[in-house]
Amino acid sequence: MIATLFKFKGGVKPASHKDESTQAPIARAPLPSRLVVPLRQSAGGTPQPLVAAGQKVLKGERIGAPEGNFSAAIHAPTSGSVLAVEHRTLPHPSGLSALCVVIEPDGEERWIERTPVSYAAESPDALRDLLRDSGIVGLGGATFPSHLKLKPGAAGRISTLIINGAECEPWITCDDLLMRERAGEIVRGIAILRHIASADRVLVGIEDNKPQAIAAMLAATAQSGDIEVVPVPARYPAGGEKQLIRVLTGIEIPYGRFGTEFGVQCFNVGTAWSVHRAVELGEPLVSRIVTLTGNVERPGNFEVLIGTPIDELLMLAAPKAGTDRFIMGGPMMGFTLARTDLPVTKAANCILAASPSLFPPQGPEMPCIRCGACTRACPAELQPHELYWFSRAKNFGKAQEYGIFDCIECGCCAYVCPSNIRLVDYYRFAKTSMRALEREKAASDAARVRFEFRNQREEREKAEKTARLAAKTAAARQAIAGAGKPAAAAPAQVAAEPAPALPQLDEAKKALIAAAIERARAQKEGVQPKNIDNLTPEKQAEIREIEARRVKVREIAKTPPEEPV
């Protein structure tokens, strides 16, 4: 069956620069001196550490437990000893730090006991749990836990499974090489994903600028017949999940909705490969393929343990002189690393050495003239120039109305902008500001609710106290005036009509005062003796001594301190 291709609007065609890093086969990166494994490597919660400093770990041993069902487990990438569990800076645009497990490899690469599972006999639920516990997340860059994507949605099951081998970002070739060399393993992983989702149809989308990968995948799927390998036109961002789903099925998934709701779900080829390893070899996700390219002597792809310091990894590719920065990810969506002593994470598909000659500095930002180049390039079919005005003016309500959250931050608009406006930066600013405002609003809402509740409670308590007092007073009055006037009325009436008859009131008042005086006297008599009363003479002498010392100290304190020498 030949799939009908759909088109997505917009997109750009930057120079692909793929050939630089596809000349050499995937090489295994040597064991680094140290591994820093961040515990939070997927969307969702932060796994709790399961190890402590000083502990020995085996390769593949779980070191981070998934928090609830919303994250995936973290494993020791090699055997060795835990040096520390501490906060380290993450390779993230924010430059924030988070809890990491630092492991010193022992060089033996001793695995935990690996138990391969025959997937056909397992239930989808058991396999989803296995994926969660094996730390399988989307390796295309978003690192969304795969077991969550495979959950049947409200609208039912996933009928179409999309496998993303498009790899549209320039320079990056890790998926390309993986497909060329390990197509068979990828296809085995696809079969597992398909079994879990019980999908009718599997489409593997690969950009048509990777003929070798397409050929390898076609050969690997030749037996299984019903997996369709579909070359898609090379146009950035064809590998964006929403764009690839649109191209292969015509379905458009709006912002905030899951593909499952539309009967379709998308997985990266690298994810499929690691699914195969996790299920059929019992090896959790402890490594990934990373492209090292750009201004380097030996560009290529390496199988790298998660947690490997980027600077140690870069030595394999040998950055050339003139490299002024390193980008994690591609030139379109990647970000410049503030430092290189940061670890490789599950999201790290490429480390790109940039130089002024490869990436000439952008010209100065000029005013937007509303030329519409961005609109034509936007694959989300937004009006980027309008979003720019709104973001700049901090008119966030309007920005939201014009769909700023539908922006996938692919960078096509900034790429084509003749005025060199860093459009995506403005959108990120607007989005984070809006999220911060929302958090602030939620916090202030909670504070207001708390405050109102407290006021209410205080008022209620006051009312209760008043009622209690009134009742008490009335009871006392009744007790005193009771003899002469048995019908001195209920306490409520006393409160409401305080003056039934003046002389009687005076009488009652006097009686009340007398009662109060009596109470006070009794209280006074009942007071406990002070702790300095009734002491033995020795104790009293001791107290006097202490008092004398105190007086002395006070006098010393009064005299001004000597001048420091």
Partner: protein, 325 residues
Amino acid sequence: MLKVLVALLPGIAVYVWFFGAAILVQIALASAAALAGEAAMLRLRGKPVGLFLSDGSALVTAWLIALTFPPITPWWLTVTATLFAIVVAKHLYGGLGQNPFNPAMVAFCISIIAFPALMSQWPAVGFTDFTAQMAVVFQSQSAQDAVTMATPLDALRTQLHTPEARATVAGVLGSHASFGNIGGKGWEWIALAYLAGGLWLLQQRIITWHVPVAFLGVLALIATGFSLANPERYAGPVFHVITGGAMLGAFFIATDPVSGATTPRGKLIFAAGAALLTWIIRSFGAYPDGMAFGVLLMNLCVPLIDMGTQPPVFGHKDGNKEGKP
């Protein structure tokens, strides 16, 4: 912006061929005034002068002013109008990218309202004597009837659309040999050269098809309807499209991104409205050509048009709420 200037070159060449080199002097005057005004305003506003001068936007405004004004306009009017366009219509509104009105058209409208006689002083075809033209431009000599003439649009207006008029379209256009067969001798060739330049801009993806197609299409459509109903009173579509500022406006003026609509449907509405106003002013108004007024009036409507024509976002299309193809 430099490509826009390049696209104007064929039109200018044909202009020079038919009407002499005076237009080049006008272009030079307007360019000098525009650059001076731009530099002064940039300095006052504390912007990097060199960077902004090199964007070419002031030159585009200057050239459009020169090309829409009569080539024998007195030098001071060209300079004043250009300065007004740059200083008031552009920079006082916030400079590049912020002006709600097309600066060149502001200059044109201000001038034709303030100096209607000077702005209607078009050279006769064949009056290409450079020295004589310069004498008029620099006013050592006032323009004489021998060297000026009414444009076909002007002739139509005065002879057809005034209450005492009794002429017919065919009668007016046939009355003067130099009115040519289609849109006025010389003018029709200039319009075709603008068309060529405009098509090149389309091919270069500097402009989109929406504005030229909607502008010329609507203009032709209305003209066809009315000229079929009353051929003696209303000129035909070919005449309207090829005469006056229609072709220049369709490809070079109404396509200004800053002051025009930006959405595809918005561009169609904007250009259609400008064309409708152009035709109405040409046929019933007090001014011979209505293109400049049409564009300015539609500039006013741009925020509303853009707001009302936002195209659907990926995944949120009407009738596609479930994302099905």
